[in-house]
């Protein structure tokens, strides 16, 4: 197989996976069956397309192929003897109706209240974005086997209990939308600095956030999430320099996408009009403060400290606590920042890389070089992506030569 075809097939798989799965799984609430059928269809594509070329509308080829495979499996399961042989290739129709986007329904299934909340994002990653259990397990710090087993079990439940593929009325189910937003954000935040592949997932998660934001224009948090993601993507061109992470306050503002920043600010303002504050709006507001540096020329650490304090109150996480410590460390001073870090439960932060990075930085600023070096070592060991690790290593070597 030529590299071009292979790359094209990989591209099609990424682009079409969730769209096709959402359609295939809907009728019987059977995600596992749809996954098998889709895998079969992709296997056929890999076999056929190098000879025939990639069709103009690959989904119009893949969907009927997968449907046939699904039907075949269902017939076998029902022990219906199949006498008619299935055609090798689907009949191509030139005027295939446009395939509807049912991914939002699939997302509502993934984030259904009858499903353990801890599995919402993993399930969404696997079904909507096609991420494999190995990567999901790695991102959630559990073994790939354990993750795979949990996902198998939850898919069995969706089918057995018949959780319907539908969009609930947002007025009746505000929490259901929040669960979807949380899961999308979980997908967006997944190892976004890892080299290769993750960017596509981020774009996909951003697309999903836009889709939900578009469909739920009166939901403040849906708009908040859209704003948050827009801010983060706007800074993408500036986040790396020579393969090394550049922290937001040190990024070259000229590299930020000004149009996207403006869009994000607009979305955030629109969300504020709804007058229902939430986690995503606060996180977007934090990014908005960073973005204000394009106007004021400096980072307003006081505003960041206050927003992080608010976020911690509304939505307590170790991430928010670490962010608050970093902001307070710049605004009030490193000692105050360290005091905040010390308030976080030690066993919660033991394996949380960002709080070790903050601690190392603040320790260095108080002149506790040895302790700072040890904290950097810890943060480096916990880094799962290259750019963050290289940034921490650079910081650590600055420490060794007395540059801090």
């Amino acid at each position: 197989m030529s590299d071009g075809i292979e790359a094209r097939i990989t591209e099609v798989m990424r682009a079409s996976y969730g769209r096709l799965l959402a359609i295939l799984a809907a009728r019987q609430s059977d995600i596992a069956g749809a996954e098998d059928a889709l895998a079969e269809a992709f296997a056929r594509a890999i076999d056929h397309w190098p000879r025939t070329g990639v069709p103009d509308n690959p989904e119009a080829w893949l969907l009927p192929t997968a449907r046939r495979s699904l039907l075949d499996t269902q017939r076998k399961a029902a022990r219906i003897e199949v006498r008619d042989t299935l055609p090798e290739e689907p009949v191509m129709s030139t005027n295939m109706p446009e395939i509807p986007d049912e991914r939002l329904k699939l997302m509502f299934v993934c984030a259904h209240p009858a499903i353990d909340p801890a599995l919402h994002t993993p399930l969404m990653l696997q079904t909507v974005l096609g991420v494999d259990a190995d990567r999901i397990g790695a991102a959630f710090l559990i073994s790939p086997n354990a993750m795979a087993q949990r996902l198998v079990r939850v898919k069995r439940k969706i089918k057995a209990a018949r959780i319907r593929f539908s969009i609930p009325d947002p007025m009746d189910h505000p929490n259901r939308l929040n669960a979807v937003l949380e899961a999308i954000y979980g997908a967006f935040s997944l190892d976004w600095l890892s080299e290769g592949g993750a960017d596509d997932l981020r774009q996909e998660a951003a697309y999903l956030a836009d889709l939900v934001g578009h469909l739920c224009q009166h939901d403040a948090e849906a708009l908040g999430l859209q704003a948050l993601i827009s801010f983060v993507i706007a800074r993408e061109p500036a986040r790396l320099r020579d393969g090394i992470l550049v922290p937001v306050p040190e990024q070259d503002i000229n590299l930020w996408d000004a149009g996207l920043v403006e869009r994000a600010n607009r979305l955030l303002a629109k969300a504020a009009q709804v007058n229902r504050l939430g986690r995503f709006q606060l996180e977007a507001a934090i990014q908005s403060v960073h973005a204000d540096r394009t106007v004021s020329g400096q980072t307003n650490w006081r505003a960041l400290s206050q927003l992080y304090a608010g976020l911690r109150k509304l939505y307590p996480t170790i991430g928010a606590a670490g962010g608050q410590a970093a902001a307070v460390g710049e605004d009030a001073g490193p000692t105050q920042g360290l005091a905040l870090l010390d308030q976080i439960d030690a066993k919660d932060v033991a394996s949380f890389q960002p709080s070790w990075a903050v601690r190392a930085h603040l320790l260095a600023r108080t002149g506790q070089i040895q302790q700072a070096a040890a904290a950097y070592d810890r943060a480096i060991a916990l880094s799962t992506d290259g750019p963050s690790r290289r940034w921490l290593e650079a910081r650590r070597s600055d420490l060794a030569v007395g540059l801090v």
């Binding site: 609430s29 018949r162 959780i163």
Partner: protein, 117 residues
Amino acid sequence: MQYTFLLYSNPADFGDMTQEDWAEMKAVYGKYIGALQEAGVFVNTDWLHPVDTATTLTLKDGEKRIHDGPFAETKEPLGGYFVIDVPDLDTALAWAAKCPAARTGKVEVRASAMDSV
């Protein structure tokens, strides 16, 4: 799809109920059953005597063994059930939320496996 609601509650919560309370509860359940019937989703229901009247039987180890009492002691034993026929879990959960037993205890919702074998 048939769904069974297994109704669990703590008998101690009903210890000091008066005759009128029982009559009222019966009326409340009667209304619920009426609503299920009117919607055309009602299949079956039963309300069971307390667990201290239960008898448990097993042939599991090759011989018939019968013992006095429930198979497991719990604070909130099974007290009754409903079987309804609705298209999906969300609809079943909407009916479960209207079940009087949900206010006093817990309702476990399980789909019928008869269709899937």
